[in-house]
Amino acid sequence: MLQIEDLVVKIGDKTILDRINMEIPEGETHILFGPNGSGKTSLMMTIMGFSGYTVAGGRILFKGEDITHMPVHERARMGIGVSFQRPPTIAGLKTKDMVTLCSRGRELDIEELADRVNFTQFLDRDVNHNFSGGEIKRSELLQLMAQQPELVLLDEPESGVDLENIVLLGDIVNMLLERGVKCPRSLTPNPHRKRRTKSALVITHTGHILDYITADRGQVLHNGHLCCVKNAREILKWIREYGYEECVRCEIV
């Protein structure tokens, strides 16, 4: 689904990602661990094609196509979707209209979708205007539910979310990634449903999100270098036990 080869990214003159290689096969969810400032968000912004992140080497392939220099909206239309950590407010654009824009003409019951993320009372508010951390998360996931991307990039989905809502949030992410045990009402769960096709890269600093979603693999980003690929829970145990510095040393030695 997503393949990153020898990717070097600069902001201005400063190299922030150095020779990153990564592959997320179809249907898999990968966790990207890393301390603050390690380049996690930059990697996500580069995958999406945001300005300010200059690709100085390597390439990004999505569904086999080289998207390294493709405009943001074309990547979105190909099936990449992002949940941002700090999205901008767009004055005068109501959340429900934003959700409609995300659906790009697909039929949609916005009220029902919003009800699932417990967000109906926000539909008439300007998108992200005075939203709390948890509200931003729900708004972003609601937009992704309308957008239906095949590859979902989630930036710190658990940050700023209270305990009560993190369960709900985990359920939504699982639903979005076709990993949920809970199904939309009126549908009975079917363990033998069609092969899962949705993939994800989930960025986390604390790893708490792993208590709520399942993952196939984990990786650690440190100072712009990708330095560990393992089972996500195993990595998290190491990080919790020894901290990021120690975890990175293991890879170097």
Binding site: M48, F50, H73, I90, G92, L101, C102
Partner: protein, 394 residues
């Protein structure tokens, strides 16, 4: 770089350039027989010739009142000339809030023959359907001279839509309008004005509003189309405890349009509140967005918000002013001028919108000030106009 004082400076406008209106226009017996050209021009500024869901209609073409019809109890609407004949007390409301000596335009208005509307609600009358008035210029190079009076008696309520337009966009002319509004104790007046003049028209309305205890004036001003030069700076006096003024303006200056638009509110009593919100977009033209609040007593409260977007090189000049004279006034302002934030564009692009779609979505949001108390049809009309305008600008 453009200099806001160089072009169309009001004091420099040469009145001799314009001639008085030469003839007069016939009265329209049946509005449904107005040609589609004219009725479309009127519809663009919110005037519906079918008079659907309207409490009253007044249309003045150049200086002739061509239609006037009030069909609602508790409401009077007629030409100011007829009103002065009918009510001898009305003279006492003329030139009370504005002085003929204010500037060359008011002085000219005072000397020349004029017309205009008189709108009067009876005490306690709640007129929920909008009252529409259209001021229309058709004679090339002439001066339209108007004196309007609105009186909302105690505890009455009115929604007024005034649409001002010229017969076609290439027409030159000068619109002079003196307007004096009286909002009495506990009365509520919603006043929405939509302008569509054209590249060569010069427009100089002069307006003052007097609000008594517990009265409310909500004024919305919308100018989305090119205009040669326009200057208006209505003054509102909140003269009774708890009186409220809210002013919204939505301005677009394309090409060489020159708009100097603001609102001034005097908060003279405790508990008075004022809010001035202005949104301006320059796409090659000049906007001077003024706002002034003067707080003279403790316990008054005001907020002024002025936001400008620059899409093409022009001038966006925000001048918010606050004057507080005593401790206990509570006034604030917020002004921002700039381009569209790239982060907002890319945020929308990440949802699949291309760059043009993203920009027009942001512009539409920027202009969609939530105008309270607007009839749904008019709100839809404004939304449509905004959409068309932003398509023209792109």
């Amino acid at each position: 770089m453009r200099d806001s004082v160089n072009k169309g400076k009001p004091g420099d406008l040469d009145l001799e350039k314009y001639k008085p209106v030469s003839g007069s226009h016939d009265y329209i017996e049946d509005l449904s027989r107005v040609g589609t050209n004219e009725s479309q021009r009127w519809l663009n500024v919110g005037i519906d010739v079918s008079e659907n869901n309207r409490a009253a209609t007044f249309i003045q073409k150049d200086n002739s009142v061509v239609y006037s019809c009030a069909k609602t109890e508790g409401l009077e609407m007629m030409s100011i000339g007829d009103a002065l004949k009918k009510h001898d007390w009305l003279e006492g409301y003329m030139w009370q809030l504005l002085s003929p000596d204010k500037d060359q335009f008011t002085s000219r208005s005072n000397q020349m023959p004029y017309n205009g509307y008189f709108i009067h609600s009876a005490p306690g009358a709640k007129i929920t359907r909008p009252i529409q008035s259209c001021l229309y210029m058709a004679e090339e190079g002439s001066i339209q001279n108007i004196h309007n009076i609105i009186i909302a008696e105690e505890d009455s309520e009115m929604h007024i839509i005034t649409g001002c337009a010229s017969a076609h966009h290439g027409m030159s002319g000068l619109h002079l309008g003196v307007s004096e509004f009286y909002v009495k104790k506990g009365a509520v007046v919603h006043f929405t004005m939509i302008h569509d003049w054209g590249e060569k028209a010069d427009v100089r309305p002069r307006t003052a509003v007097h609000v008594e205890e517990g009265g409310v004036i909500v004024s919305n001003y919308i100018s989305l189309h090119p205009v040669g030069s326009l200057e208006m700076y209505p003054k509102t006096i909140l003269d009774g405890e708890g009186a409220v003024a809210r002013f919204n303006s939505i301005l677009v200056a394309t090409n060489d349009s020159w708009l100097d638009v603001g609102s001034r509110v005097l908060l003279n009593e405790p508990g008075t509140r004022a809010e001035i919100i202005s949104r301006g977009i320059t796409a090659g033209g000049t906007i001077i967005a003024r706002g002034e609040m003067v707080g003279k007593v403790a316990g008054c409260k005001g907020h002024l918000e002025c936001k400008g977007l620059i899409l093409n090189e022009g001038l966006m000049h925000a001048i918010p002013e606050l004057k507080g004279y005593v401790p206990g006034v509570d006034m604030s302002h917020e002004a921002a001028v700039g381009k569209i934030d790239q982060r907002e564009i890319e945020y929308l692009m990440a949802r699949g919108l291309d760059e043009d779609e993203a920009v027009s979505t942001i512009v539409r949001g920027f202009l969609s000030v939530n105008i309270e108390g607007l009839p749904p049809a008019l709100a839809a009309e404004i939304d449509r106009a905004v959409t068309e305008t932003q398509e023209d600008m792109m």
